[in-house]
Symmetry: C5
Subunit: 153 residues, 5 copies
């Protein structure tokens, strides 16, 4: 058996890495992800993961790198763009019920593909990378073991 993993580098370089076993897929994504290589595109509108993963998701799986910006805000760098962490608290009133959401997003740029931009026409537009919401169960394969240990500690 042979498995090929298709990757894009920070300069746009397209390569394909061959591994011999299925269990090598995730470690390979992690290894290259630490140098900013990523595989494929996240779904338009951003990927959605369970809220319980907001602090333990392994960003290296998508070639992203978490950091704290100059204003002390949490952010991730993904394909040369910075996405800020935003927390939308639960709303539970008679009129409106919204779950807690942790999302990473950034302001839209003129060179973003039009369909990726969210927000009102003429108003502020943004791009969502990832949303953590809902009670789904934690996907162990996506967890950063070091962070999970820290969270549990």
């Amino acid at each position: 058996m042979s498995i090929q993993i298709h990757l894009v580098g920070p300069l746009g370089t397209n390569i394909t890495i061959e591994v011999q076993e299925e269990r090598e897929i995730f470690p390979t994504l992690r290894k290259y992800g630490k140098s900013g290589w990523s595989s494929g595109d996240l779904p338009a509108g951003g990927v959605s993961l369970p809220l319980a993963m907001a602090d333990i998701f392994d960003w290296s799986l998508i070639g992203a790198r978490p950091y704290t910006n100059a204003d002390g805000e949490q952010a991730v760098m993904y394909r040369g763009q910075s996405y800020k962490r935003r927390e939308l608290e639960e709303v539970d009133t008679k009129k409106l019920k919204l779950p807690k959401i942790v999302k990473y997003s950034r302001g839209a740029r003129p060179t973003d593909l039009p369909h990726l931009k969210e927000g009102e026409d003429g108003g502020v537009q943004y791009i969502t990378l990832i949303s953590f919401r809902g009670g789904g169960k934690v996907l162990d394969a996506y967890v950063d073991a070091a962070k999970a240990a820290g969270t549990a500690g």
Copy 2:
């Protein structure tokens, strides 16, 4: 002989799996499909299959997962989006003849590609994943054996 199957994972990851024989294609799609991996894109406007397959189609072939939502409705989860089952009953009047259709669709999102959206401009817009209609014969390769047994029982 060697056959490669190109797959996209839940985080957008692009991989290629090699199998040795043609008869391994469908089992491989099923195996990876159960973890949310899918191969290629369904045709724009959704794929069309015979009505007789509406209850026995094997969703794992396209990386989708059927479930019942909180309102008790049947739905499938496909690439992070939920598509609801809708049944359009046969219409057979003098004015209008429409066959019975079972379709899985969802409301359009701002980040969907424009040409995939159906419905009137300014009105409700939706995306169709799959339609079951017409008297075509059941394609055995696409059938979920367990469900087919259940249906027959």
Copy 3:
């Protein structure tokens, strides 16, 4: 030497088949084409072949299947869509000279990519799959041997 043929299946599945010799390319396209697999996209606006091939083109090469519809019209099924045969007779007047054309086309759907649609804005729009026109010589590699024998007989 090794040659890979890239194919798309009826559910959008992307696979790559390896063959050892160049002369296996067309038989492989035919074999998979009979089950609805096709390779790549026809050029936008449809492919153009010599008029002499209109009745002997081997549709399996592009994963299409000729059939006669409920109204007795000739049509081909290609990637889940039906294209009807239309014959445009030769026009040879002082004002206008048009060659005979046999084309397979269908009405445009909302989910077709905009640039593929032909016809006036606001008027009827259609998609052309293939046009047979002009005196070019028959390409033997594209011929359905059984049909060619029948035509000759």
Copy 4:
């Protein structure tokens, strides 16, 4: 070492040819190009080559075929479309300086991708395949040896 060359055929067929050495790339492009296979897409707006190559460029490298049309004009057939040779003579006046250009272009069709069309909105629009201009040096790898011999003779 192994090198794969990705090709598209006249019916849109996608194949990959494996060769063992770098020096086989161009002969392989030429061999398949003679049957109308081409690799990848020319840059939008057309590729630009030195003027000195206008009569010796090897069209088979891009799967194109030069011919003389019914009106005696020079043209090339590329992916089912005909591009005519146009010569823009040098302009060297006080007001305007333009170098000599030999270009192959065709009128735009409704099914061309919008961004490939040049010319004013509402006016005549066209698609450029290739422009020969400027004093750059001849790239030997792109030359048709037979034509170069004829030109020199």
Copy 5:
């Protein structure tokens, strides 16, 4: 282990080169880049690198070639288009703070994809290839050793 590098040539040719070790990726990009082959697309809006790399970036990694144009300006040729070096000096007033930026850009052409164009609608529009800005650390893998030696000397 085997690694494939996907490249696009000056005529649009698509090839894949196989190397045996990860440390061969960058030398292979450099080797082919010197003949104008490049891998994948730079991010829309251009890639961003640290300011300290403005004079030592190895352009061959992206198949680009630096040169001095007829007006004595520094430029790079990338995929048949010329991008000029522009230096935006630091602005540090009460009203406005902007870091020093060195960028390579060119005027937009009608055949550029719409979302790649920057600048106001109706005004001057341009395409950015690369920006050097900020205090990030030099990425040794991207450095042109000869230039770095010259800069240090």
